[in-house]
């Protein structure tokens, strides 16, 4: 048990707590405020609308005549007060924009804002409740998916094979850049000694690995007229297009075995 004595400067505590959540405050602010031009119509109108439809979808061409700043900053209440949203439209309006304007006018004229308090909706989950998982994913929304990465983790293989493939897709296993690190003077392929050794070469275009793929496809009873490709990903794509089911799984394991064979010859 702790008895703590507080004097007049206790408000300092509140400030410290505020500072610590400042980082996430920006996040939340971005998430829940609807602006006039972005508010979901189904919240307000009685007639049936697609859920999640916003003004932007109803009147797309009208929005070209509203300044981006107004779109970003006007709230629903401010926009509806004495029809302020009409005054935000400026410039030489085109015919489709006028049609959009009439449609929006019809929709907005039926509108009555209630006295209910606004409730916050977390837009990153289906039920509108905040979860840490969705917040984490929301922080990564602007990122681009890297091609070929999701298939590695979906394929059936032990984790060590997946990690190898992950490195191989990024071109990171130590092959031709051994020389850069001063480990070996020779940067030719250990399997065929014909070409510069890269991971794409070892798996997809080396004559030794071609032999492996041929034999394997012959055993599987598949058409083996054309094997290999320019890069690992291209060859894998081809493999996935041509064969299905269990045969698809073999790719990762075979690539791993070829890599192990190369390592056994190298070290």
């Amino acid at each position: 048990m702790v008895v703590a004595a507080v004097s007049r400067r206790e408000q300092g505590l509140g400030k410290a707590a505020h500072r610590s959540i400042q980082g996430s405050a920006g996040l939340l602010r971005r998430f829940h405020i609807h602006h006039t031009w972005e508010w979901p119509l189904h919240d307000i109108l009685d007639r049936e609308m697609d859920p999640g439809q916003v003004v932007k979808d109803v009147a797309p061409s009208l929005l070209e005549f509203v300044s981006p700043r107004d779109i970003k900053t006007t709230t629903v209440t401010a926009g509806l007060a004495r029809r302020a949203w009409v005054r935000q439209i400026s410039g030489w309006i085109t015919t489709p924009a006028i049609l959009d304007y009439f449609r929006l006018w019809d929709l907005v004229s039926q509108l009555q804002l209630g006295d209910n308090e606004d409730n916050l909706i977390w837009r990153w989950t289906v039920d509108g409740k905040c979860t840490s998982k969705s917040a984490y994913q929301a922080l990564l929304t602007a990122s681009h998916p890297v091609p070929g990465c999701s298939r590695i983790w979906k394929t059936w293989a032990p984790l060590r094979v997946k990690i190898f493939l992950w490195l191989a897709v990024r071109g990171r296993p130590w092959t031709d850049w051994r020389r850069r690190h001063g480990l070996h003077a020779d940067d030719h392929c250990y399997l065929c000694d014909q070409d510069l050794e890269t991971i794409d070469h070892i798996v997809a275009s080396c004559s030794y690995s071609h032999q492996v793929w041929w034999t394997m496809l012959a055993v599987l009873g598949a058409d083996a007229s054309q094997v290999g490709g320019t890069s690992l990903l291209a060859w894998w794509d081809q493999w996935r297009r041509r064969w299905h089911g269990d045969k698809q799984k073999v790719f990762a394991l075979a690539a791993w075995e070829i890599w192990k064979e190369r390592n056994a010859r190298c070290f």
Partner: protein, 230 residues
């Protein structure tokens, strides 16, 4: 749960006393309650004057008579939050408990009215270093190291991250431990052995990483909950 039910009476006593002006009310809007009960700790906030201290003593003795839960004052401590220390000996005399100074450990986390010293946070970082598998590390495959990082090492700082977040230097140190372990399997130097940048490794799998949690982003995501619950 049982503790909360029993202690609710004490909280009511303190609130009633505050309503009857026996205790001076707190001025800060952040402090809505004068009595905070959590898990098995009680904190009572009060102004540092003799009248309030006597009132608290009376409340505790009334509570002890009514419920049989006698407060062991030797185990209690009194701390000053932003106030001069000259009143403390007097308060200590009235209440009969020890004097303590911030930072203290409260619910296994360092708590202070000022900046928390580096040494206190260092213990969290060291706790992660201690959970490395040690001499068994090099015997495992890299897949084992990955699993170890994702589900053992990254889970340790989560409790701290939920409450207050970690300073950037602590996050960097934790990342360094994880990085060394992922690429070498032990604690030694990792120079020239990292095959992929750590920021990339921390991304989700479809964005080209190994989906090891990024501690900085995890901290922000976990603390968003506090804003949501307000």
């Amino acid at each position: 749960m049982l503790f909360i039910i029993a202690m609710e009476v004490l909280a009511r006593l303190v609130t009633t006393a505050a309503d009857d002006r026996l205790l001076q009310p707190m001025r800060s809007p952040a402090l809505r309650h004068q009595c905070s009960l959590c898990v098995d700790d009680v904190i009572i906030f009060m102004h540092p004057n003799a009248a309030d201290a006597r009132a608290i003593r009376e409340i505790l003795s009334i509570f002890a008579e009514a419920s049989g839960l006698k407060t062991n004052l030797a185990k209690c401590s009194i701390m000053s939050i932003y106030m001069p220390d000259d009143n403390l000996p007097q308060l200590q005399q009235i209440l009969g408990c020890q004097l303590a100074e911030f930072p203290i450990t409260y619910l296994a986390l360092p708590l202070s009215a000022r900046r928390i010293p580096k040494a206190w946070i260092q213990s969290t970082v060291e706790a992660i270093g201690r959970r490395l598998p040690g001499c068994y590390g090099p015997l495992m495959a890299r897949s084992g190291w990955l699993i170890w990082i994702k589900f053992v090492l990254s889970a340790i700082p989560i409790y701290t991250l939920i409450v207050d977040g970690l300073p950037p230097w602590a996050i960097d140190e934790i990342n360094a431990i994880c990085r060394r372990f992922l690429w070498t399997g032990k604690e030694g130097s990792v120079r020239g052995k990292c095959m992929v940048a750590w920021q990339t490794v921390c991304r989700p799998t479809d964005l080209g990483g190994l989906s090891i949690p990024d501690l900085h982003l995890t901290g922000i995501a976990l603390q968003t909950q506090w804003l949501w619950l307000q």
